[in-house]
């Protein structure tokens, strides 16, 4: 067995150029599968948090009269306590704290704080930073009772962070009816921001919150334009990305098989000579498997590096794919070795 392994590694070294081409092709297959899987998993995750029927708006100012600003904010605030969620950049708090401050309003803040203690439905606020989640940042004069603590960020929060460049940001999760107090002496940008970032789900729509929200802005200085576009990402991935990925994978696997057969042909005469000299099929099998196993192990290592050594779904998918490739090659070898006839003349086979 030791000799078979040693001969396998000798073959590998002898055909190292082919080995590296093999490895590159296999890694390419894995990277393509990783990217496609990531896109699909992310999209499915998005769906699972019920973003399929989001109501999104573009705000169009239609008047210079902003006298109804605070009234609008108060109404929007009341409504967002009934359903939906949004966030905006608070000029007032930014100037107070000295750091970019984002205010998140959600009818059910527990959605955002799924790893934290339940929040009361009364006036409430919570503060944390992007950089120092879970650490006390600062206390300041807050118009409402405050609590400083930690939380996990949900996908909704991700969306907030994506829109910011700063590392240190104060996020205020708010469940209050007095938002208008926070927006005193500010211009229309905050209400623009609030409306631009608003999200409703199917339940909100069913409960009439969406219609109520739109009604607030009738006859105001802002006109809402609904961007209720269907979420076509999954359809696109399944209809276009996956067939393209499948095509590339099949092409690469065919290339790999051709290379493997050419390598096998090179070694075939040598294997036959070994069989004549007393090698068992098992010894030849072990010898040949060294090439494939090394290839797979190195590829798996490469994938792990790219995947940050995380044992997640993507790693599982890649592992299963590599295992399948391994079995296909081993089966191919088994069939060829089992069928071979060592009594044929070897003349001219070189």
């Amino acid at each position: 067995m030791m000799d078979a392994l040693m001969l396998g590694f000798k073959d590998l070294f002898k055909h190292r150029r082919l080995f590296f081409i093999f490895e590159a092709c296999l890694l390419m297959v894995c990277v393509i599968i990783m990217s496609a899987s990531f896109a699909l998993i992310w999209e499915l995750d998005q769906r699972s948090i019920d973003t399929t029927s989001l109501e999104a708006y573009t705000v169009i100012p239609t008047s210079n009269d902003m006298t109804s600003n605070s009234q609008l904010i108060r109404k929007a605030n009341q409504l967002l306590n009934k359903g939906g969620r949004s966030f905006f950049h608070s000029e007032y708090l930014t100037s107070q704290i000295g750091l970019t401050t984002i205010i998140v309003i959600d009818s059910d803040l527990n959605n955002l704080l799924y790893n934290d203690e339940e929040m009361s439905q009364t006036t409430y606020a919570k503060i944390f930073t992007k950089a120092d989640l879970g650490q006390t940042l600062t206390t300041f004069d807050f118009p409402e009772p405050t609590e400083i603590g930690s939380t996990d960020i949900s996908r909704f929060d991700d969306r907030i962070f994506e829109s910011l460049f700063e590392d240190e940001v104060v996020i205020v999760l708010l469940n209050t009816n007095h938002l208008d107090k926070w927006m005193e002496n500010t211009y229309g940008s905050e209400i623009f921001d609030l409306v631009d970032n608003v999200q409703f789900n199917a339940l909100d729509k069913k409960n009439g919150v969406v219609a109520e929200f739109e009604a607030i802005f009738e006859d105001s200085f802002l006109t809402l334009q609904s961007n209720n576009y269907p979420n076509d990402e999954l359809r696109f991935i399944l209809l276009y990305v996956f067939p393209a990925v499948a095509f590339v994978i099949v092409a690469l696997l065919v290339a790999l098989t051709i290379m493997y057969v050419s390598l096998f042909k090179k070694l075939y005469r040598e294997y036959t000579i070994h069989l004549i000299a007393g090698a068992t099929l098992r010894a030849i099998y072990v010898r040949n498997s060294v090439f494939i196993i090394t290839l797979i192990v190195l590829c798996l290592f490469g994938v792990s590096v790219l995947n940050g050594f995380e044992l997640n779904d993507i790693f599982g998918i890649i592992s299963i794919t590599l295992l399948l490739i391994f079995f296909i090659f081993e089966l191919l070898l088994y069939v060829v070795l089992k069928k071979r006839n060592i009594s044929i003349t070897l003349k001219g086979e070189d």
């Binding site: 001969l7 000579i273 070994h274 000299a277 007393g278 068992t280 006839n341």
Partner: protein, 227 residues
Amino acid sequence: MRLLALENLSKVYHKNTRSETHVLENCSFELNKGDILVISGESGSGKSTFLNITGLLDKVYDGEYTIRGQAVKKLNNNQLAILRNEMFGIVFQDYVLVEHASAYENIIIPLYYSKKYKRKERRHRIREIAQTLKIEDILDKSVSQLSGGQRQRVAIARALINDPDVLLLDEPTSALNPDLALDILKFILSFGQKHHKTIVLVTHDTQTLPNVFNKHYQLIQGKMTLS
């Protein structure tokens, strides 16, 4: 002591098809330890097929083949591989060497699967055989760089390396010039006699054979006759 026996051996290629060919028909013979046997015949008379069956390279045939009283057909692939390794050393007409490997790497092949020689004894054993065949200085050379005579000696060294009981020689000198061919044949036969080896020599040319064999069979159209 009877080493191996073949009884009513027949071999048909492409059985039950249009191109069905009867290569061997009811051939029988037996071989004792130390025998030197020559099988001669024209091209296509079935000499190589006969050698393939004898050397356990072909197991599809009709008839009985026993080695030391054991029926070959009852042996599994692993047992056949062990027998091939321990009992037979085969020299082919076209040498059958691994071209990109060195002479040393070719000669060592049977030792990888041998139970007769331990790993640490391999190098010494190869030196010993190489010395006998006068090829010590070409051991590290690639086979592709060797002359016909040197390649033949490497093939013989590989056949002898595991100290087999039976040497099967399939037209071993057909690719060499007559003088060199005779030298090599003389060497093999004297080596066989000295070490009490059983030798089966298959050839189409019996004119140049040294007269040291015990039996001479002729294969004519698949039928074996003692001459």
